[in-house]
Each structure stands twice: as structure tokens, then as C-alpha cells.
């Protein structure tokens, strides 16, 4: 009896996206499996955010196919399995009337249904998410009064509250100081390692993340997948895009 092959979380086949005549993404194909830790890098305008928006059904592809948990995008209904933290997440409207707990509770809305109040399970998940992100002591604070790093943890807690199988983050360090960034990467690695949450995120900080990530996607209209990010220089596309940076990264890693 053969083992049933694992269904990928995302299965992308020959995905292309164009705006009018301009080709933004061309024939992108990949699979993402449960438990992976993947970073996406690439130049500005290379199509990184577009790719994530296509995966989340926020844009319609021009051609190709996307499957989520084995289902076609249009048939997929269990969106709570995907936690999303957008690029501008930390740039909140400071006057918006929302406490930290209000925001994290949003992560349970889609799972609760129209007529349901907060169940004990909902409260527990909200509490757990805040605890994991170390923001329990901030729960009654208005989100507009928090620092960039604290807001970042609130937004991830919101995504975690729905008990997602995968977390997708688009340049989550926008507007966040260096110390918080370091702490953030440690948290992501911990979530991946201890909670088995699949992580997919866009970043510019290839030097910082190379130790933890399992695979590196380089998106520059086409996708190049680097399966061994610890040897960044062996990945041609990364070297082409980040030549000097990749060299300095290699030296930096060698010193440690």
C-alpha cells in the first residue's frame, strides 16, 4: 500500500499576470508544502506583492492555475486557514477606535459566523495569540498609541487567532526599528519550528533571514527558486540581483 502524497498548501502552475500590455508575472510555477519557511525577494516592481495578491485571490490571474489545499481558487472557502499580514499593516490610522484586543478578535470573525458571539474557544484563541506575540499586557491599549514593532506583533496575533496553517507576510518590517525586526524574525522562526505554521514572506533583509529559511523565491517577472539559501551565491538569480550584497552576506556569515 503506497502512502498518499501530501497535498501542497499552494500549487501554482504557469501563472501569468499582465496589466494591459505589461507582463508583470510570467509562467510562474511552484508548490508550497506544510511546514515550509519561504522568503520571497526581488527588485521593486518585480511582481512580489502581485504574486501574493494572486495567491490570496485579491487579483485575478491572466493565465495559469492556483490551487489551495488541493482546491481551485474559486472553490476554496476555508480562508481562515490563511493568515495574511499586509505591507502597510503597521501604518494604522491612529484615530481608529480599536484596542489591541479588538484587533486580535478580528482574526476570529470569519470563523464565528453571523449570529455567534465570542465562544470560550474564540476567547482562548485570542488569548493564546496575544500570549505568543507577547502583547497580553497591551490588550487594552489603543493600537494607534503603539510603536511600529508592537503594531507588527498585534497584526501577526490577529492572523494567528484564526489558527492558520500558513502565514503570508508582505514586507512586514515596514516602519519597524532594527531591534524589533530581529525579534520579529526570531518569532517567525519559532512559529515555524514549534507550531509547524508554514511561513511565506516578502523581505529585503536577505542577510538576516538566510539562517532560518528553507527556500528562497526570487521574483523578477519570472520566478527562480533557490532550494539551499545557505549557499546564496550558488543561486544564480540571487547573485545576479544581489551580487555585492550576496558577497558581503557570505563574508558576514563566514565570520560567524
Amino acid at each position: 500500500m503506497s502512502l498518499k502524497p501530501e497535498v501542497p498548501i499552494f500549487e501554482v502552475k504557469e501563472l501569468s499576470f499582465r496589466v494591459r500590455e505589461q507582463l508583470i508575472l510570467e509562467n510562474v510555477s511552484f508548490e508550497i508544502f506544510s511546514g515550509e519557511y519561504i522568503a520571497i525577494i526581488g527588485p521593486n516592481g518585480g511582481g512580489k506583492t502581485t504574486l501574493i495578491r494572486l495567491l490570496l485571490n485579491l487579483e485575478k490571474q491572466s493565465s495559469g492555475e492556483i490551487k489551495i489545499f488541493g482546491k481551485k481558487l474559486k472553490d476554496f472557502k476555508e480562508w481562515y486557514k490563511i493568515g495574511y499580514v499586509p505591507q502597510r499593516a503597521t501604518l494604522v490610522d491612529e484615530s481608529f477606535p480599536a484596542s489591541v484586543e479588538d484587533i486580535v478578535k478580528m482574526g476570529r470573525v470569519a470563523r464565528r459566523g453571523v449570529f455567534a458571539g465570542m465562544s470560550s474557544e474564540d476567547r482562548e484563541k485570542v488569548h493564546d495569540a496575544m500570549q505568543k506575540m507577547d502583547i497580553l499586557d497591551l490588550k487594552d491599549k489603543m493600537v494607534g498609541t503603539l510603536s511600529g514593532g508592537q503594531r507588527q506583533r498585534v497584526m501577526i496575533a490577529r492572523a494567528l487567532a484564526s489558527s492558520p496553517k500558513i502565514l503570508i507576510l508582505d514586507e512586514p518590517n515596514t516602519g519597524v526599528d532594527m531591534i524589533s525586526q530581529q525579534r520579529f524574525y526570531e518569532l517567525l522562526a519559532k512559529l515555524n519550528r514549534e507550531e509547524n505554521i508554514t511561513i511565506l514572506f516578502i523581505t529585503h533583509d536577505i542577510g538576516v533571514i538566510a539562517d532560518d529559511i528553507g527556500r528562497l523565491f526570487t521574483i523578477n517577472r519570472k520566478a527562480t527558486i533557490c532550494n539551499d539559501p545557505k549557499k546564496l551565491l550558488s543561486c544564480d538569480e540571487v547573485s545576479d540581483l544581489y551580487g555585492i550584497h550576496a558577497h558581503s552576506l557570505a563574508n558576514h556569515k563566514h565570520e560567524h
Binding site: 485579491l58 480562508w79 490563511i82 499586509p86 484615530s95 470573525v109 494607534g144 484564526s162
Partner: protein, 266 residues
């Protein structure tokens, strides 16, 4: 204070007014947070087209106002969600276009009189039993929808895209919200007037936001401000024979200025 409540017309005006204050402030919280403030003004002007048709054709203006307002709301939401056009410009065009159309209709129909004036600025004298029933029935239905979907609407107001990616039916709920707002606005023009209802919807929430408290408390404060403004404004209207919409709106503006001063001194 209680002497004025011995009159039937004042009882009707108070029932309608308090109901409208509740509806306007609760829906207004979502309207402000979604940055739809100009939409409420536009819908109020669209409702005036319905009033004009009703006055000229001899139908109940309130009913026609509800229908026209709902259609306008759907058109605005469709344009906003389907095309990348400047939504504030669309609202501006529809706002002035609706007012112009209403004026032409009433002018051609020879109905440019005190009756129209009362729909523009509100009048406690003009609230009929039928108006009260209409406001209570349709207002209650609207309120139930707002409260049922309040957690989803709040999420959408905070971050529409993330709400969508978590599986919330954003498009449907946006249409539902504008429909409910359109109904509330049309129902309100008897008491507050079409030129002034936008203020009753928006200002209580903006005043409540000055206190920087969470969502639920912001909504409660806005509700309290709206109820107080309606009671105070309608009392002024009764004692000084002034249009009720104007006195209500000036009352709520006074509360807003006070809230601003109190919170800036903290």
C-alpha cells in the same frame, strides 16, 4: 419640557427623532470609519429626488425617497468597487446632480413650497402617524442588520483587504451597509431634513472619536451624543419655532466642539 410632550405632534416627533438618533449614530460609526461621510450627504440629496417625485406625483414622499436613495447607494457602491475612478468626485457629481434634479422636478410640478422646505430642513410639525410607523418598522429592520453584521463591518472598516482574505463577504456587506444607510437617511429627512441628516450621522461619531476609546465605547458615546442632540434640538425647535434639523445639528456641533476642547486639554 414635559408640557410640550402633551401634544400629539411632539410625541410623534420625539418617537421618530429618538429612533433616528439611534439609527443615524450607529450607522454613522461605520460610515465615518469607512470614510463614507460624503456618501451620506450624497444619499441625502438623492433622497430629495424621491421626495420631489412623491410631492409632484402625489405619492408618500418618504417611500419614494427610500427607493431612490437605495438605488443611488447601489450605483455609488458599484462605481466605487468596480472602477478605479475618483470616488469623491463621483459623489460630488451625484450630490449636485441629485439636488438639481429635485429642484427641476418640484419646479415643473409647481410644488416649490413649504412642504419641500420641511423636507430640506426638517420639521417637527410634519411628522405623521404613518411616518412614525414607517420609521419604526424600517428603522428596526435596518438596526437588526447593522447589529448582526457589526463585527464584520468593523473588520472591513479597519482593513477591507485583510477582511476579504479571511473569507468575509466584503462586497455583499458593503452593499448591505450602503443599503441600510440609504434607508436610514431617507427615513430621517422628515425630522432632520435632507440637507442636515449627513451631519447627524457623522458628527456624533467624530465627537466620540475624540475620546480615543475602543469601538464599542465609541459607538455608545456617539449614540448618547445623538440622543441628547435630538432631545435638546427638538426642544429648542418647539420653544423658538425653528426648523428641527437646524437646531439638532447645531446642538451636535456644540457637543463636538466641547469634546474637541476637553480632549485637547488632556
Amino acid at each position: 419640557m414635559f408640557e410640550m410632550l402633551s401634544y400629539d405632534f411632539m410625541q410623534r416627533a420625539f418617537i421618530a427623532g429618538l429612533f433616528i438618533a439611534t439609527l443615524a449614530s450607529i450607522s454613522g460609526t461605520f460610515v465615518v470609519l469607512k470614510r463614507y461621510s460624503l456618501m451620506s450627504e450624497t444619499l441625502a440629496h438623492s433622497a430629495l429626488v424621491g421626495v420631489a417625485v412623491g410631492l409632484v406625483a402625489g405619492y408618500n414622499p418618504l417611500w419614494i425617497a427610500v427607493v431612490v436613495s437605495i438605488f443611488s447607494a447601489w450605483l455609488i457602491e458599484y462605481l466605487r468597487s468596480s472602477f478605479s475612478i475618483y470616488s469623491d468626485a463621483v459623489l460630488s457629481i451625484m450630490l449636485s446632480g441629485s439636488l438639481a434634479l429635485a429642484v427641476i422636478i418640484v419646479s415643473l410640478g409647481g410644488a416649490f413650497n413649504n412642504s419641500l422646505f420641511s423636507y430640506l430642513f426638517g420639521s417637527i410639525l410634519s411628522v405623521s402617524d404613518t411616518d412614525v410607523y414607517t420609521i419604526v418598522v424600517f428603522g428596526s429592520i435596518s438596526l437588526v442588520f447593522l447589529l448582526l453584521f457589526s463585527k464584520e463591518l468593523y473588520f472591513i472598516a479597519y482593513d477591507e483587504e485583510v477582511a476579504k482574505t479571511s473569507g468575509i463577504k466584503v462586497k455583499f456587506l458593503n452593499f448591505l451597509l450602503v443599503t441600510v444607510v440609504a434607508i436610514i437617511i431617507a427615513l430621517s429627512i422628515r425630522v432632520v431634513g435632507s440637507l442636515l441628516i449627513g451631519a447627524l450621522m457623522v458628527i456624533p461619531t467624530v465627537a466620540a472619536l475624540q475620546y480615543r476609546v475602543g469601538f464599542r465605547n465609541t459607538m455608545f458615546i456617539a449614540l448618547f451624543f445623538a440622543l441628547f442632540s435630538v432631545i435638546f434640538g427638538m426642544s429648542l425647535s418647539y420653544y423658538f419655532s425653528l426648523p428641527s434639523g437646524a437646531t439638532i445639528v447645531l446642538s451636535v456641533i456644540a457637543i463636538f466642539i466641547l469634546s474637541l476642547l476637553i480632549n485637547n486639554r488632556r
